[in-house]
Symmetry: C2
Subunit: 148 residues, 2 copies
DNA sequence: ATGATTATGATAATGAATTGCATTTAGTCT
DNA sequence: AGACTAAATGCAATTCATTATCATAATCAT
């Protein structure tokens, strides 16, 4: 049993929930999928792999993952929630290419420190934050420069 | 005619659109309203003030404001888009209290510089960014400490 | 003023996400 | 192992914010 499965099962037993084959299947598929997947994408992926589960269950299970601290939900402005594994993954923020939709992750401790400074100045206690940089990745800027 | 009206009219004429009493009314109400207003809130406010305009037109007009560079749309995670005046307003980011929903604006040039540095390192060209700090404002942290 | 074009309002439609409910399943207690 | 209780599932129906449709009205260049 891997770490992620353990975490989920611990959350499940602490809340008197149940381990089901659907939940296990969704977890397996989620861990094996690309980061920042949408519920719909995961649903399709599982259907293709013949480990089909209802879409409502996908949503319910992804929310369960978030409650258990395994995943986090993100909104990148395209109207669909995306889910990413955060357990045993160090914190990071995102660069989002508006052209090819590529998502690049980055870490920057200096920025985090400055955020805390801003919070302190405003007598604010930070629980979470969201930093997203939108623009063009290197590939897409090249293309734009060429087609000018 | 104020600066905001001028900007909007310039956008309108450049795109062969039309100045209507509805658009003027929405602009007036928008400028007079609290920052970070939702379409629904603006709709209610105008109804209360007997300068009623259809909800669809509110949406259309707020989008027009965004296209003209007058306003920007923001998502603070509550499922409703919020609009804020950005014309002639210096750039800032947001602290969002998860308890009382208060939104505090702040500016931090150092963070902006670091963001550019991150972008450069990733050969990424930033067009816009979003930095939101979620947590508790000073009032709400006090209440939480007391009720413990 | 005319006419072409754009805007509006009311309502229907959309799409992501959630919910209700009948049925199935998991896990516990004997 | 069997029975019981609470939770989970699938499907369809529902919700909610936002957008599209379309007939009618308003704007503005000529």
């Amino acid at each position: 049993m891997n770490k992620e499965e353990e975490l989920l099962k611990s959350h499940i037993s602490r809340h008197n929930l149940k381990v089901t084959k659907e939940r296990s299947a969704v977890l397996r598929a989620f861990l094996a999928s690309a980061r920042h997947i949408t519920a719909e994408e995961l649903y399709r992926k599982m259907k293709d792999e013949n480990s089909s589960v209802g879409l409502a269950t996908i949503y319910r299970t992804l929310n369960l993952f978030c409650e258990s601290g395994l995943a986090e939900q993100r909104q990148f402005g395209d109207g669909q929630a995306r889910y990413e594994l955060v357990y045993n993954v160090s914190h990071h923020d995102h660069l989002i290419c508006q052209e090819c939709k590529r998502i690049i992750e980055f870490q920057n401790e200096e920025i985090e420190v400055l955020q805390e400074k801003v919070a302190k100045k405003n007598h604010f206690k930070i629980f979470s934050h969201k930093l997203e940089l939108y623009g063009l990745c290197s590939d897409c800027s090249k293309v734009q420069a060429e087609t000018k």
